[in-house]
């Protein structure tokens, strides 16, 4: 018989080894799934993990990897700070939407004025929008003790409806023949978040994501505030003795993660997406939760996890394109990754003991 024995301390080794193990297990189980669908499993796995990086037309796919990973990393960094403190912002998707709406609103409002100040002002408004949207659950938690998990999640649906409203109403392109969707900011120079170096996919949002990784690292691991955040999450009572004010922490963590999600939305709407449409949000806010945990709530881990997650998307496209693999199978594959990660996580907190061995 196999029994699990709780470790006194989570294992450092397994904490880093389980993501790698999960990826390998996903490749094996996913390969079996693809084989059952009548596709060559080696080809399929190669199409997902290899082709976007080094295969045919990889130059383009590599640039798209950054475009896809940028918002995930940016949002996940903010979430990780809160998660470390035991503050669960599940509504980054909503903050992302509101950030995009606020920033785009400014640009569409002053269109077609050209000003060097416009883009920075949009970024500021995007951050502010996300911040205020995240402060709603923060204030409700601090004043009334309402669960921030539920409120932040529910506010995603409110944000989605607001998005549909502005896409069909106030922000609709007046030259759009009554069709929904705003003007395209890609054609508005002062508001456009362009590719900084042609063909690399690098835009301001990707730069911001890299800055966020460094900032989060310094905050969490080199600064007293980060120490307080981690203590609050791991030992709330001890944190009180260390002078942590829980209400302040809730406001700071939710506000910060909301602001980061907001700017992620702004960079997306001003760049790769270009338009406010009713389907503008592509689930980045939810996927970023997976990225945060896949990256062990550590900024460097998040950077790698964001790239890996982007790889499964881009690679999934390549597999669909070249092998005509159905998208449902690719979603299964992504689901397996999370499943195995959580499954193997047992090893971080528990030791496996075989019967007979003392």
């Amino acid at each position: 018989m196999i029994t699990l024995v709780k470790r006194p301390q989570p294992s450092q080794f397994w904490s880093w080894a389980t993501p790698i193990l999960a990826v390998i297990a996903t490749m094996i189980a996913g390969g079996l799934l693809f084989a059952a669908l009548g596709k060559d499993p080696i080809e399929a796995i190669k199409a997902i993990f290899w082709d976007p990086i080094l295969g045919q037309n990889a130059g383009y796919f590599r640039s798209q990897l950054l475009v896809k990973a940028g918002p995930l990393i940016l949002i996940a960094c903010g979430l990780a700070i809160g998660f470390r403190a035991g503050i669960w912002n599940i509504g980054a998707e909503g903050q992302y939407i509101i950030g995009a709406i606020c920033g785009a609103w400014l640009a569409l409002r002053v269109y077609p004025a050209e000003s060097a100040w416009l883009f920075p002002a949009m970024i500021a408004l995007g951050a502010l929008g996300g911040l205020l949207w995240a402060l709603i659950p923060a204030v409700l938690k601090v004043t009334l003790g309402v669960s921030e998990i539920l409120v932040s999640l529910m506010l995603v649906y409110v944000a989605e409806n607001l998005l549909a409203y502005v896409a069909f109403g106030p922000l609709r392109n007046p030259d759009g023949f009554g069709m929904p969707g705003s003007r395209n900011l890609q054609q508005y120079d002062a508001a456009h978040n362009p590719e900084l170096i042609a063909g690399t996919g690098m835009h301001w949002g990707v730069v911001a994501a890299l800055i966020a990784v460094i900032f989060t690292y310094i905050l969490l691991h080199r600064h007293i505030a980060g120490f307080r955040i981690r203590v609050a999450g791991e030992a709330p009572r001890a944190a009180l003795f260390a002078g942590v004010v829980p209400t302040r922490l809730v406001v700071i963590c939710l506000g910060l993660s909301g602001a980061l999600a907001g700017v992620a939305g702004l960079f997306e709407v001003a760049g790769p997406s270009g338009q406010i449409t009713d389907s503008f949000n592509a689930g980045y806010g939810f996927t970023a939760i997976i990225v945060a945990f896949l990256g062990r709530l550590h900024p460097v881990g998040i950077l790698l996890a964001g790239l890996l997650m982007a790889l499964t998307y881009i690679g999934g496209d390549v597999a669909q394109l070249r092998l005509q693999l159905p998208p449902a199978a690719i979603q299964c594959f992504q689901g397996m990754l999370l499943f195995f990660l959580l499954g193997f996580d047992v090893l971080t907190n528990y030791r496996v003991k075989f019967a007979g061995a003392a």
């Binding site: 549909a164 069709m179 009713d278 449902a328």
Partner: protein, 361 residues
């Protein structure tokens, strides 16, 4: 600003330099790519485009090689899917949803040697053609049947998005129902999705509970059909595809999007080297809109009346939007005998007189 324009110019130059390559290697079969907004198994919109693709394969055999990507969300993901198809050497790409419009324009600018066909959009370029079907013609026929068949005088309509194409359908259905039955009322529920079986089922259930006994849908799943079947005394119409699995009741007829003739014509033009950017709005006359078989759940005189209308529309003798028609606010839209022109229909954003609901703005 100079930096930005410099960067975009050099970006365009780099892409142009690489983009020319696939088209030069045009010796083998014509490579054609498709992107679908839903799964090919949605039994509605994307399914019908997939039927068009299959018709191309059947007709042209080895002369063509087709690839498709399904369930592509509108937005940056579509741009990536389109770029990937172009990079993989497809020289003709069908983008089969309205929301692919700006991505198509972006990608088309980078790949001048790839010809794009965009469904239901209004932006064109030298290498971007658009095509759409006059679905409202089918709605006029459905409206006539609805007006004749309803006992509760309540017609339910599940809308997807309040865009001109959908508004045309609601108006056409309403005025034709009203013409044969002055007492009808129409309720519209918006699903804000093209394909969401759960939402569509909820909308159908709510309308049926409200006393609706004729149900129309501008969404693509068969969920409303199933709800009507449960209710027993509600009739429906197949949307986009025939949905004949629900015949003879609740589905009494259908409006079928038949893209195959258009797709075959356009591929032939590519093979002949005569392809050019065009704007096509086909109806019953060109076969792009087909009316599915009317089942014996309908009395024969209703079938006769509906068939006569279909024939009149096909022959160009009757236009579903013929005056006198007033807008919802009572102002005159079309004078007596006046016929709506295509441009006015393409941007229709108002209900006609008699509809009590408010159009979401």
């Amino acid at each position: 600003m100079k930096r930005r324009s410099f960067l975009t110019t050099s970006a365009a130059a780099t892409v142009l330099a690489t983009a020319g390559l696939p088209a030069l290697a045009q010796d083998g079969p014509l490579k054609i790519g498709f992107i679908y907004v839903g799964p090919v198994g949605d039994m509605g919109w994307s399914y019908q485009h997939e039927q068009g693709r299959r018709a191309i394969v059947e007709k042209f055999g080895d002369q063509v090689e087709t690839k498709f990507i399904e369930s592509v969300p509108e937005g940056p993901d579509a741009e990536r899917a389109l770029t990937s198809l172009a990079l993989e050497g497809n020289t003709m790409i069908f983008a089969t949803s309205f929301g692919y419009m700006d991505p198509v324009m972006n990608v088309a600018a980078k790949f001048p040697n790839v010809m794009f066909e965009h469904a239901t959009g209004y932006k064109r370029a030298d290498n971007v053609a658009t095509y759409d079907a006059k679905f409202f013609q089918g709605r006029a026929i459905q409206g006539t049947i609805a007006g004749r068949m309803t006992k509760s005088n309540k017609i339910g309509y599940i809308g997807s998005f309040p865009i001109p194409e959908v508004v045309q359908g609601i108006n056409a259905a309403y005025i034709h129902a009203k013409k044969v039955n002055p007492d009808v009322e129409m309720s519209v529920v918006w699903a804000y999705s093209w394909f969401d079986p759960a939402k569509e089922a909820d909308a159908a259930a709510a309308l049926i509970a409200d006393g609706v006994d004729v149900l129309m849908q501008h969404t693509d799943s068969t969920a409303p059909q199933a709800k009507a079947q449960e209710a027993g005394n509600v009739i429906t119409f197949g949307q986009a595809s025939d949905m004949s699995g629900f015949a003879p009741m609740p589905r009494v007829t259908s409006t079928i999007d038949n893209w195959a003739p258009y797709y075959i014509e356009r591929v032939q033009a590519m093979l002949d080297g005569t392809w050019s950017s065009t704007a096509t709005w086909g109806g019953i006359d060109t076969g792009m809109v087909e009316i599915g078989e009317m089942t014996d759940a309908l009395p024969s005189e209703v079938i006769e009346e509906a068939t006569a209308m279909k024939d009149a529309i096909a022959a160009g003798e009757y236009h579903p939007f013929t005056g006198p028609l007033k807008k919802q606010d009572g102002t005159v839209w079309l004078a007596d005998g006046e016929v709506a022109d295509d441009a006015a229909l393409a941007s229709m954003d108002f209900y006609l007189e008699g509809i009590t609901a408010e159009l979401p703005k």
